[in-house]
Amino acid sequence: MSAVSVSPLYLLDILILFWVMLGLAGLVLQRSKYVIAHVIFPLGALVSLLLAAVAFLSLGEAPVSLVLPFGLPDLPFHQRLDSLSSFFLILLGVATVGVSLFGSGYFRHMDGKTLGLLCLQYHLFLASMALVLLADDAYMFMVAWEAMALSSYFLVTTDHAIPDIRKAGYLYLLIAHVGAIAILLSFGVMQGGNGISAYTFDAMRGAHLASFWASAAFLMALFGFGAKAGLLPLHVWLPEAHPAAPSPVSALMSSVMLKTAIYGILRVTFDLLGTQLWWWGVLALTLGLMTAVFGVMFAAVQGDMKRLLAYSSIENIGLLLVGIGLTIIFHVYGKDALAALALTATLYHSLNHAMFKSLLFIGTGSILHATGERNMGRLGGLIHSMPWASVLMLVGVLAIAGVPPLNGFVSEWLLLQAFLLSPGLPNSYINMLVPVAAAVIALSAALAAYVMVKFYGVIFLGQRREKVLEHAHDAGRWERAGMLWLALACVGLGLAPVFVVGQIDHVTQMLVGTQLGNAATDWMFLSPVDTDRASYSPLYFLLAVLGVMGLTVLLVRRLYHGRMRRGPAWDCGYPAQNARMQDTAEGFGQPIRQIFEPFFKIEREVPSPFDTHPKYHGHTDDKLWFILYLPVKHLTEKLSAWASLMQHGRIHLYLTYTFATLVVLLIFV
């Protein structure tokens, strides 16, 4: 293709460099907030768009690679652009267009110094994420990976005056670092041949590992990337860090950064490791299921809107991992068509999640702007004062709840199809596992709907729980643009699945060696395997619903005389109803808390009926924190207390150490 005769990698690198430049420019131009907000961020969005475009053009082309003259002397930076990385680059680009547009409106109100720094960190964050996707050797990957962690850490701790936010940042970076260590170990296991040049991905592809070492590498990678993705039980940082960050940053972290972890798992499992074992898939599947249910359960009981979204991200990561697990199982048992189906579902879902989750997060951002309130218990009735935000958010909510004809449903549909087609695996245990897994998926999807009704209903509907909410203003121009972009993406992904799947086919072709294709001749019908088995056409669906609705409206107009008046809400004979009597978020989550009681660590004080000033306080905690994390902490503390006895301050003791060392060495020679 002559249009991109110059290797697309050059273009991508230039674009990434441009991001960095923008960041630096922001740092320099601290004085003029206007420029940063209304020039730099939109330019960043433009760069994202171009990035996505380039990646899209090179999707399905032959992989191109490039060696940059940086990095270690014997291990310069290797870069490679293949379908997998292009796909995730598209994801990155499309999502960040919206977020950056939103950001230019959102960050407007910060003070210059913070804004300048934030602009730098933000664009470094974008650049490092893109580089992670392009890296083709362990060193560059690690550098980009940790740079991503570091920049996002600084973003998370933007308003570091608040101790909780510092705590969140600490937890985040610590777990990220531990994860990075695990990833490094897994690369070390996978290294091909000896010498430092064995750390290029090509060498790793070449290395054929014994199944034991391959498993070790896979487990390490799963641990490391899982730590970044918020996989159970490494998720504890996520609900702390995502809410702490400014909303656009939360959006990026939830929607894109977590996907880089998914990318890593896919890259290691299907690309770097030549062979897979069936139990990897089972492990991933089970972990994924646990994560999904756990996440959505905790989302249901949250009172803080951003924490709620963070937990829902955990749920979605769980679903993605389920998809990966299925893919591995099918691939191992040679059912590549099914593997392709499961993988398609996974990739599709990560694309969808990127879109609606960032939409929702930036939506909470503009709510924060309008009201300065994150606690859903103090919101409500915003649909009247924030029409734009409410409509766009509704799209996001319906999408994430997985109802047709929006995008969330498509990936869910594909995933369930993968389950339905799965019987006939040689291993009967896995055969038993499959329906249970399907059931759990269905359950968590239904719970997600519950959560989202709570989210939207408590925030936007009902009466205003606080007086101040009357003055809440709608999202500004830029914010609106960003949200609109993402909402459109959701709708588009929902309505044109055939096209999207066609694109994803390139990736599945690369990873599992087959592609889904589309059995239906008609571009309107998505049918993964065969039209008789299953088919779904969102467009017809939409048309039908609209048609029927239109018909209804017409009939009603015809039959009905159309008189309507406003009156007070019916108070059931109890006149003194006020806004505080609506369900709060806690109230809405209460049934879930009651049903899944054993999973939560609940502490609450309920007032007695005779309290003059009754005060209810309830708090649900994550048991895993107490079961898994605190013991480790205490162990280290004990060890170090033990060690520090050594440094006792008495010089005789120190001399004795020298003496003893000497004697011991002399004896053992």
Partner: protein
């Protein structure tokens, strides 16, 4: 010619210390100090160029020997000494302003600073194991005076411990040297040449293994005390915490390297003579132990300088481990780590120094929210900390990456230990550093403007080494690594 250059390198600091012994109490003593260090640095660069061009050479009838390995350390030492002198100019002024230092103390400080540089350069460049010992002892003596500069009980105690422990250590090293000589004279005959490293290196195959084993143990324990290898490290945190900050910077940035260089010299001989990996294994063992124990120590520290002293122990352990592993990549990595550690650690100490001066205490719980009062110090400290913790894209990560990957290939079982230790260290230091840099503040502004150019110069260099290593530098390291094998 080489004699001249070497002479320049050695005489400038000596002359400088003489000058400062005379003029040390003048107001411009600080500038003179920096000037001298600057000249030393220039001289070292000239020498380095020369050596890179025309390989290893000896000077002053073989009493001095310069190869890529020690000339790289010479350049590094001179550079850090120079930047430290730049930093110490305002720092010491502020100390004086706070009334911690009298003019006479400053006088002592400046002259001793130059003398210390001199001793280190001698120790690095000498070819004679005996003179090496003498220089090390002299370095100890000068630094003892520097550590006890404040004359506070704490500083006195620290200096005393430092003195006694390193004195004993050094004495043991002398015994090792004597044993070496004992073994050598039977091959090289009596008299001068029997202690010259170059000659020993040629005949190392014939040296008596049993004696050399014994000798190496003494040398390792002796110089290891100065490197700060666990369990010989006890003096190090005290000395770093109680001495003036510039001294802490040069101590952990330079002196430790010099001692390590001495150990390396002996290692080359011993392993050459034994034909086994005896010395290497010992060094690996000590290195691993140091990394683990230091990491455990970190999490309980309350004094900020003490904490970074322990982190120096940890990194020295890592470097020793790498040198112990041997092989081109590991040695390369070790030297790279030496470089980045010196640069980063001294940069951190610079920033810490000003932070401490602002807060008026070394207790970490009283230093808060640096970013609010002086963002430069805050960012310097934050970035330096992340760099020393091995966060990419800083150079420390590059060397750690090389070390760990090599270890995975050579000694897989060590890597989990190392990585866990590094993780613990990360958790501890990062956890302590975050509230110091971020959050609400308690600290107050300074009488004199702080000198932070050195901090950011160092950090930029480290950053560059992480992302891009100039080819000639890489070749230089490679040659040096080849020398050490």
């Amino acid at each position: 010619m080489i004699d001249l250059q070497l002479l320049a390198l050695l005489l400038i600091p000596l002359f400088g210390s003489g000058m400062l012994a005379v003029f040390g109490s003048r107001p411009w003593a600080a500038e003179l100090n920096s000037l001298m260090s600057g000249c030393t640095f220039v001289a070292s660069v000239v020498l380095a160029m020369r050596v890179i061009d025309s390989g290893p050479q000896v000077a002053f009838n073989e009493q001095f020997f310069i190869d890529q390995f020690n000339v790289f350390l010479v350049a590094l030492t001179a550079f850090v000494a120079f930047t430290t002198s730049l930093f110490s100019r305002p720092y010491m002024r502020i100390e004086q302003h706070h009334g911690k230092l009298s003019v006479s103390m400053l006088h002592l400080y400046y002259s001793m600073y130059q003398l210390f540089t001199f001793t280190m350069l001698v120790a690095l460049t000498t070819n004679n194991m005996g003179i090496l010992w003498v220089a090390m002892e002299a370095a100890t003596l000068t630094t003892v005076l520097l550590v006890s500069l404040y004359r506070t009980p704490a500083s006195l105690e620290a200096a005393w411990k430092y003195f006694i422990l390193c004195g004993v250590g050094i004495a043991l090293a002398l015994f090792g040297t004597i044993l070496l000589y004992f073994a050598a004279e039977r091959v090289l005959g009596e008299g001068g040449t029997a202690l010259l490293w170059t000659h020993l290196n040629q005949v190392k195959g014939e040296l008596e293994p049993t004696v050399l084993k014994l000798a190496f143990i003494f040398l390792l324990v002796g110089y290891g005390t100065k490197i700060g290898l666990v369990p010989l490290h006890s003096w190090l945190p005290d000395a770093h915490a109680e001495g003036p900050t510039p001294v802490s910077a040069v101590l952990s940035g330079l002196l430790l390297n010099v001692a390590l260089c001495a150990v390396m010299r002996s290692k080359v001989l011993v392993d050459g003579s034994l034909g086994t990996h005896f010395a290497g294994n010992l060094m690996m063992g000590f290195g691993l132990l140091s990394v683990v124990v230091a990491a455990l120590f970190l999490s309980r520290q309350k004094d900020i300088k003490r904490m970074f002293a322990y982190s120096s122990i940890e990194h020295m352990g890592l470097i020793t481990f790498a040198f112990g592993m041997g092989g081109p990549v590991a040695t390369f990595a070790a030297m790279l780590h030496m470089t980045v550690h010196s640069l980063t650690k001294s940069a951190i100490f610079f920033a810490v120094g000003h932070a401490v001066q602002k807060a008026g205490t070394q207790q970490m719980e009283n230093i808060r929210g640096l970013l609010q009062v002086s963002p430069t110090v805050g960012w310097g400290l934050a970035l330096g900390t992340f760099a020393i913790l091995g966060m990419p894209p800083f150079g420390v990560f590059a060397s750690e990456f090389l070390i760990i990957t090599t270890a995975m290939h050579e000694y897989p079982w060590t890597t989990p230990v190392l990585l866990i230790a590094l993780g613990i260290a990360f958790a501890s230091i990062f956890g302590k550093m975050q509230p110091i840099v971020f959050g609400e503040t308690t600290v107050k502004p300074l009488p004199h403007p702080p000198a932070l150019i050195p901090v950011f110069v160092h950090l930029l260099l480290v950053l560059m080494l992480g992302l891009y290593m100039p080819p000639y530098l890489a070749d230089w390291y490679r040659q040096a690594a080849a020398l050490l094998g």
